[in-house]
Symmetry: C2
Subunit: 352 residues, 2 copies
């Protein structure tokens, strides 16, 4: 409490992101970054733009980046919105589509930023419990609501929902905006982008922080029919005309144009993931099926907190959420094969 703070500042419980130690002494598997650097073409594009033109504002409309995204996703450029990471795109979306009084709905176990956006903008929300196995039941989302947010695959569980299930949620909420947050879609799922033109209520949000190896550059994208994108532009232009800087815009464009690199990186990560899952199972872990670049795993005997602390002592950072239902799970990012070999070794030491 402070007399100079607004009511919101006094009341809000901010989001806490995964630890970002500024030294490099950890094997860092706590924020779902890629173990691989960005495409060489991204580096080249940034280098090319690092010149005196940085004195000039960026294109406020990010036209080149939008065109590259439109081409990649087979949409029109006016069906694309670009922001400073998918967190900013989500924050704008809450303000663009949801009203305070009609509660929006999202899963009880999901991205823990959603409730914070609700608090920030005073938008009521209701959390829909996941099933016992952490799956989403589409029928649960047909209740009266002011909007829907579904992460697919879900985080931190890693579980994926088939497009035909997503369609059920869209169909039963045709008058409300349904946000499908696809931060992890490139690791084995099918994107709902393919049905954007069928659903006037569908907004798909993606990020370049995971599969495109660009967490450091902050690029998020939203895709939907033009009237939804227009709403996001209205909010953005009432907040900050230029949220994507010149180098981020160039990086994002180059990343979208290099399809081959995306495919290589995600294939490697999927491959590593499946190997690690097998090894963890041998160590008595129960694992939620994952279509992401992380694994949500629970040991049959040792508590989540104990494993988290002991791994940290051994210089391995993973993510642990001290929350009901999931406190015995660890969320472990898929790193390089070498990183994962080290993690398995450390776990064997701890569990032996």
């Amino acid at each position: 409490m402070n007399k100079y703070w607004s009511n919101i500042t006094n009341q809000i419980e901010p989001y806490v992101c995964g630890e970002q130690p500024q030294d490099k002494k950890y094997i860092k598997l706590n924020t779902n970054e890629s173990p691989y650097g960005p495409s060489p073409k991204v580096i080249e594009a940034i280098n090319k733009c690092t010149n005196d033109d940085l004195r000039l504002y960026p294109d406020p409309n990010c036209q080149r980046l939008k065109s590259a995204a439109a081409k990649y996703y087979n949409l029109k450029a006016d069906q694309i919105f670009v922001g400073n990471g998918s967190d900013e795109v989500l924050a704008f979306s809450f303000l663009a589509f949801f009203n305070p009084d009609n509660p929006i709905i999202f899963p009880d176990i999901s991205y823990s930023f959603y409730p914070v956006y609700g608090e920030l903008y005073n938008i009521n929300y209701k959390q829909i419990p996941l099933s016992e196995d952490f799956s989403i039941t589409p029928e649960d989302y047909s209740c009266e609501n002011g909007g829907v947010v579904i992460p697919n695959p879900n985080a931190p569980t890693g579980r994926y929902l088939e497009i035909k299930e997503i369609k059920k949620i869209l169909d039963s909420n045709i008058e409300k905006v349904v946000i499908i947050d696809e931060a992890y879609i490139d690791f084995g799922g099918e994107s709902a982008v393919s049905i954007v033109n069928d659903y006037p209520n569908l907004l798909v949000i993606q990020t370049m922080s995971k599969s495109r190896c660009l967490a450091g550059m902050r690029i998020g994208i939203a895709m939907g029919q033009k009237h939804l994108i227009d709403a996001l532009e209205r909010i953005k232009n009432s907040f900050n005309s230029y949220t994507v800087d010149r180098l981020a815009a160039a990086a994002g464009e180059a990343a979208l144009l290099d399809k081959q690199y995306l495919k290589e990186c995600t294939s490697k990560i999927i491959n590593t993931r499946e190997n690690v899952i097998n090894q963890l199972k041998e160590l008595d872990f129960d694992i939620i099926p994952s279509k992401t670049n992380f694994i949500f795993a629970k040991h049959r005997k040792v508590s989540g907190n104990e494993l988290f602390m002991k791994l940290k002592e051994k210089a391995v950072l993973v993510r642990h959420f001290n929350k009901p239902r999931i406190k015995d799970y660890l969320r472990i990012t898929i790193g390089s094969d070498h990183d994962m070999k080290m993690v398995i070794e450390r776990l064997k030491e701890i569990l032996s």
Copy 2:
């Protein structure tokens, strides 16, 4: 109006930034960018960070950038906030310090983004008229209010208010946050940063887009006592954990460390400005005294709109605001000596 839009999206009138043509056929003097590129040390710092580490999130706390700012401004690092341009810092500040019901106050002629932030967050505001000569009268800001925003120097007028006048506003609002928006302070004014430790209600906001030649990288800074910075961090961390990307953070740090380059650039611009003012006076312009990198000028015979259109036809972009009291003024950014020579020539052609 659209049924998928929130009430705010339907109601708001977004800010319109100066035109950003993506070709280079204009002499561009409409958005107060620097005619000079950023410091060579900035370019070097960006190049050094353009590597595989872009796969990793930035430091969410921007510690290195904050330390450099603390050193430059003679403050502590916890008295510094960093954001994605001063527009984002302003947007966060409105939410962090102001409440909907108690109207905040700012000048009637000033940065046209302020009313938009008010609308975005449903914060009431009252605009205090500038005097006939466009100066700010500190006594006008001693009325009952929920907070104060003063741009100093003011934009688009260019007029500067002495620190002793700023102190009057701070003293008469000691229970309310007073934001001094110093986007243009480096072009001849004295910053209120020097009195941050004397006033628990003072927040100073600056940008690297103007004097530090980095509009393309989006770096804004706020300075104030720790309790004010904490409020901004709370709001930022409820919106987007990482608003400043790795390259922007490196660029900002390097820009702050190169004091000499800042001095050289601002001296050149001040010098050009004074020459241009003299030439415009000879062409029958009335000019508001400027401590910025732009001039606010009105011709004695020809209307603002006519001059704006004719200059545009001749490939010179300046800013014209079609608003009461200022519709006969042009806001002309100070470009290079060569740019300004061209502008004077074009004006002579138009006025002959």
